[in-house]
Symmetry: C2
């Protein structure tokens, strides 16, 4: 039980993942555990997939370099890290006693990472997934936060916004959105009360009363910085969908821009895209999705604007129109073997919508698919998305 003077324990935070974005978020979080010693333990453990790096002409372990030089020389070079980030090559050791788990690794590693973690996380721990995107197949559309939450039997929220890792690392100002909406629990009975969309699971355990509550206010304190403004919402699905579907819209914006149609046409594509995101969310995650997540938050409108300004999906689509070449050819030339997220998401979303019989209700997403397939041309976009209903 909490004593009158305050709670007796503090939250221990672990970061799962140490790439460009993972290390950046670890920096943000470690600054905040220092700034809020009443809520959080100072040290933040960060799981690092161990590898050898060459530093000062010597082969060294990446974890050692991070812990001695306080710099992730491989994935976030030239950014000094707080000394209270403790790199750890052992996944299970990283999460030991941690009550807050921040997931930030490439989505293809989620399943095996959770397999390893299963049974080793604190039963009342809470997760936040910073992994962009959703898992869409013909049969389902699943949030990564749900995958994590279900595999580990914990509640998992999500963080997404108009954030480029390097810029956040350089402390250039941006905003982000954190969605966090655990089921209400009665701590004495340790069972969730009610049911919400999210990683709901009967296994979830209530946070013991000796810990500070994980209210929106306290979760915000873990991520908010003067250069990284956090807004808290409840809509985990909306936050996750925005980060995935914007890439499909960015292709259309790039095509339209490549045609020389100007900023108005590009803005129109973005507006229509935001509204299709809302419709998609309401159609397939209706319990929790709120329009405002897409239209008013960084994870929605702002991330859309950024992705349609200079993101790689936008740029490659634009070049493909300007040069009259298939986007696959541009992708190969420009991305050094990496793949465009927008094209794969467009195909996945189309397969899912077709299966659901809802292709026609999402004319922009469907137009992008048909243009990728060569059935339609970028010039057809206005006609394809024209609203002919009379109001």
């Amino acid at each position: 039980m909490a004593t009158l003077g305050g709670t007796v324990k503090k939250h221990k935070v672990a970061i799962i993942g140490s790439g460009n974005w993972g290390t950046t978020i670890a920096k943000v979080v470690a600054e905040n555990t220092q700034a809020n010693p009443d809520l959080f333990e100072r040290d933040v453990r960060m799981w690092v997939y161990e590898e050898q790096v060459t530093v000062d002409q010597q082969q060294q372990k990446l974890t050692q370099v991070i812990n001695t030089k306080h710099e992730n020389v491989k994935y976030l070079p030239n950014i000094p890290l707080p000394t209270n980030i403790i790199a750890n090559p052992d996944l299970i050791d990283t999460v030991r006693d941690a009550t807050i788990l921040v997931f930030n690794l490439p989505h293809q590693f989620i399943a095996r990472t959770c397999d390893t973690l299963k049974g080793h996380v604190v039963p009342f721990a809470r997760g936040i997934s910073c992994i962009k995107g959703v898992n869409v197949t013909e049969d389902k559309c699943e949030l990564f936060s749900d995958t994590i939450g279900q595999q580990l039997g914990i509640y998992c929220g999500a963080l997404s916004g108009a954030n480029i890792a390097t810029e956040v690392a350089l402390e250039k100002w941006s905003e982000t959105t954190v969605a966090y909406d655990p089921p209400e629990m009665d701590s004495r009975h340790q069972t969730p009360v009610g049911s919400r969309r999210g990683s709901e699971s009967g296994e979830q355990k209530a946070l013991p009363a000796e810990y500070p509550t994980l209210s929106h206010s306290n979760i915000k304190k873990l991520f908010h910085r003067p250069y990284f403004h956090v807004r808290m919402v409840h809509d985990v699905a909306g936050v996750s969908l925005g980060g995935a579907l914007k890439n499909v819209v960015a292709l259309a914006a790039g095509w339209v821009d490549g045609l020389g149609w100007g900023d108005n046409a590009k803005a129109a594509v973005m507006r229509v895209g935001i509204m299709e995101e809302v419709k998609f969310g309401k159609a397939f995650f209706s319990n929790s999705v709120r329009t405002e997540t897409f239209t008013e938050e960084s994870c929605g409108v702002a991330d859309m604007i950024t992705s349609c300004s200079g993101g790689r999906n936008f740029r490659c689509a634009k070049m493909s129109v300007q040069e009259g070449k298939p986007i696959g050819e541009i992708e190969e030339r420009e991305l050094n073997g990496q793949k465009l997220q927008g094209t794969s998401t467009a195909y996945e979303v189309n397969a899912f919508l077709t299966k659901e019989g809802k292709e026609q209700e999402f004319p922009l997403f469907t137009a992008v698919y048909n243009i990728l397939e060569g059935n339609k041309k970028p010039q057809d976009i206005p006609d394809l998305i024209e609203d002919r209903s009379n109001e």
Copy 2:
């Protein structure tokens, strides 16, 4: 009364104004009166402030040139106009028998134009104002559509969107928003039923039943083209405010971009700006303003995106930071004697908010004013708009 086979009269449309945007809208409207002969008379009269122009080395009247060459050589050169646009130098003759009046002239001419028109418009005519902006002084914030409506004793709606006249004239695709929400009338008693924010006035007369109704569907048919997609809304104040306040936000976006803070910071400024527009609308036009007008429509989010991408307010603000010069100096150099709308609107809005005691509730608008005044620096924006409330 309407006969069973349909209505017996058609709407006659007049355009008041023939500048770049006025002529463009006349083109759109004249294409649509041709396309919808059951609703509208084919010919569209356009009031032209008469002047001499040199064509084929001869001095000619601009109205004659428009009516013979079907081109507005002075204000919209190289765009062929529909032959059913009839330029008319006589304001009163232009609106004779017109049941739909489209206002599209510089705002400083509204008062004297309405003075001339007073008593000469069809009493049951309806207006649509395409004039961007609102009239803000220390004492009030007034919509141009209201000014027009009140002076003429008619209902007046508004059209605004992410539209650059020249691009619309070239039939490059864009979207726009038309707000139209006349009070419901009982045609037998010819008095408005109920009361709505807008150009409400006891003088307004109901449309006689022999005319096609001016429903959203029919108003849409007057403006919607394959290259100019219209969405109809009810919120006249929201549509008008978006077109004015975005210029203030564009200054902040320009400064932030000039600092090299990247697309994320710029998108954050836009997002915050949209939310302050909503707040402004709800604070001062609460009866009718809807959040969605700003967050979901072309006149809101899309116009904001366009203005913060390449508009003159954005560009001048960006240069002022990059070159370390006052924005007034850049304005003088770049705009050829023209004035930035953003700076004057920022001052007007600040005077109004100060008088209302609400400066603190609009931190971005207030930040822009203080930066213009030299009290704050662009670098201070994140700190000035940071939300320190805990949720």
